[in-house]
Amino acid sequence: MHVIKTADHSTAAAAFIANGDRVRWHDSAIWFARTKRDRASHGVPEWETLRELASKIKLHTMSRLDEYLEQFEANATRLGAHVHWARDAAEHNTIVAGILNQHGVRRVVKSKSMLTEECGLNPHLESQGIEVTDTDLGEWIVQLRNEPPSHIVTPAIHIRKEEVGELFHEKLGTDAGATDAQYLAEAARRHLRAKFLAAEAGITGVNFAIADTGGFVVCTNEGNADLGVSLPKIHIACMGIEKLVPRATDLGVFQRLLARSATGQPITTYTSHFHGPRPGGELHIVLVDNRRSEMLGAGDFRRTLNCIRCGACFNTCPVYRRSGGFSYGATFGGPIGSIIFSAREPRQHKSLPFACSLCASCSDVCPVKIDLHHQIFISRRQLANLGLVSFSKRLGLRVVAAVLARPWLYRFAGSTARLALRISPRWPIYNRFNIWGRQRDLPPPPRRTFRELYAARKKTPPLPYREG
């Protein structure tokens, strides 16, 4: 799995912010996606009803996931697809590699799929001598840079076009210093076209799978999924088990929400429905659990399975926009990634739920109404219960809690602290341990507290004021 290791989120974020130009550009580019989402959603008067409906459909589906999965399997099989079940990432990779090896496939094209990222499929296939080409332009750019995606919808959002120009010059021999998007996209298109033509199998993700038909839907803006599965005979579709909806009619709800939330488009350019293999072809569907049923069983985080991977919570997150996708050190970060990956690997990802000011914007943009900020709040409790909140923080807050439980001690501690702040010169206060004070002043300490002034005032009340 491509995971860039980081000490913790705040250290990585500070390094990202140190490059002022880049972080400002990153923040505004992604904020622009948020404003497009606002415009698109405000054009749909029944937006909030759609969100509620989508949330309920997903919660209902998750409550009977076993039944719907078996229904999907039966219908997909009836349509001629081969359905495979993978308990975890390793099983998923083994199944996909098995299908490819069985057919002697050496070259594969793959459209965007966060599930295959999560499972680390590319390195697994490459280790067996299979060439995998990511055909989504952004994914291909990060693949050429040997990087993971930094965003689930716009994987190369952290890279500026000048850097793409340099990369293409080095890897594809385009003109040095080229920054023209049209020119660079044409070059990518030429190179990818050759990959499509040479591919012996196509792998796609799945946006929605439909239990009552056995079909599934893949949404892209570049048509790369369609091209990738139309030329080769073998199509392998990999999906997390939470991608299911009960009926084909449910799709209308999600299609109206997905692209508007993701990029502000009314609908993705290509919305392709697959029902069984094409004539003469072979269709494999790999259903992957990889700890999703654990989330289903853990009541607190069940709603994360509503996620349709639109990326709206990333775009709105003020922390994500200012720290970049890699600062999270997980398959994906942002609000939803912080919850999922800290629940799965609490020791490794314990800083993620704290990379959040609890502003709650994510919960209100989420098209399937995941109560993201509440779940982040709960994630912190889980970490504390596992003993993963640092000793100094825990000890410090225990002392604070003990002081706050005793009004006399609270009054004494407060007056002592304020006195110290008042009489001390500036340098001992703004020392290197005062993290607050690195870029901010402390509030000027008043002589008397509210409670003291209030008691004094009650002795000599001001004249009551009456209006009129």
Binding site: S10, A13, F354, L397, P446
Partner: protein
């Protein structure tokens, strides 16, 4: 009768002053008392109160929060209403105590009657006219917990009717001019301990808010939460910007009570 707020005297109102306001911004507490008394409310300040427990809860330390939450409910149980000049602390009581204590009848009783100052004025006292002027260019910072948990205003993420309780109160004042921001309700980056544990992100978020207000020509920066304003003021003073911070209670008190 309009303009006569004497009927408000019948209710028993407990004043909840957040710990950091008590310690660092006593004038905000006094302004809150002034405003409430102006509208005929006789407030009581129970002396034993300290803190709602939010810093511990946000760190995940729910066991450590529990005694403070129980204490809060005990202290404020006797009142008809609890009023507080902070959206965040009220939200802690109304929305997060349940996650700490579980659902109890006592929580229902106190929680549902705990109000942030502005919503108490607009929704309980139904304040719809005042006499007072505040001839300044005022920038309203919409603090997240007040906005997205207490729903004091319509936020930019949701699709629905426009409303804004703090703004509605400010707009009653003569001569006030509210500034137009590029990002109307982005977080300031305070976030409690987040301000320290994620210092770099927190300060960049704060600086972005201050710059937005500076561009909009804000002279006085206000809001319902002194914690956000404390963080923004820290940046304003460090960078010698020409913006003053005032809690909304201070503006209302200055305009209405002391006019």
């Amino acid at each position: 009768m309009r303009g006569d707020w004497a009927y408000n005297q019948a209710m028993r109102v407990g004043l909840f002053i957040p710990c950091y306001v008590d310690q660092f911004y006593p004038q905000v507490g006094l302004a809150t008392v002034d405003v409430l008394e102006h509208f005929g409310v006789e407030v009581e300040f129970p002396e034993e109160q300290t803190c709602c427990g939010q810093p511990m809860a946000n760190a995940g330390l729910h066991m450590e929060t529990k005694p403070l939450a129980e204490r809060f409910l005990r202290i404020f149980a006797p009142y008809d209403y609890v009023v507080c000049p902070s959206g965040s602390c009220v939200s802690m009581v109304r929305h997060h105590y349940e996650q700490i204590l579980g659902h109890t009848a006592e929580l229902d009783r106190v929680g549902l009657r705990t109000f942030e100052l502005c919503e108490f004025l607009t929704d309980v006292l139904k304040v719809d006219r005042v006499t007072g002027a505040y001839p300044h260019r005022v920038g309203l910072h919409q603090s997240c917990h007040g906005l997205r948990e207490l729903r004091l205003a319509a936020n930019s993420e949701l699709v629905g009717p426009e409303f804004n309780k703090p703004r509605q109160l400010l707009e009653l004042l003569d001569g006030i001019e509210l500034t137009q921001l590029t990002r109307t309700d982005e977080c300031c980056g305070f976030g409690g301990l987040f301000a320290v544990t994620e210092e770099a992100v927190s300060c960049m978020m704060g600086r972005d808010r201050v710059n937005d207000h500076e561009r909009a020509g804000t002279e006085v920066l206000t809001g319902v939460d002194m914690s956000c304003l404390m963080h923004l003021d820290g940046i304003i003073r460090r960078e010698n910007k020409r913006i003053r911070i005032q809690h909304i209670a201070e503006i209302l008190a200055a305009a209405i009570v002391k006019n």
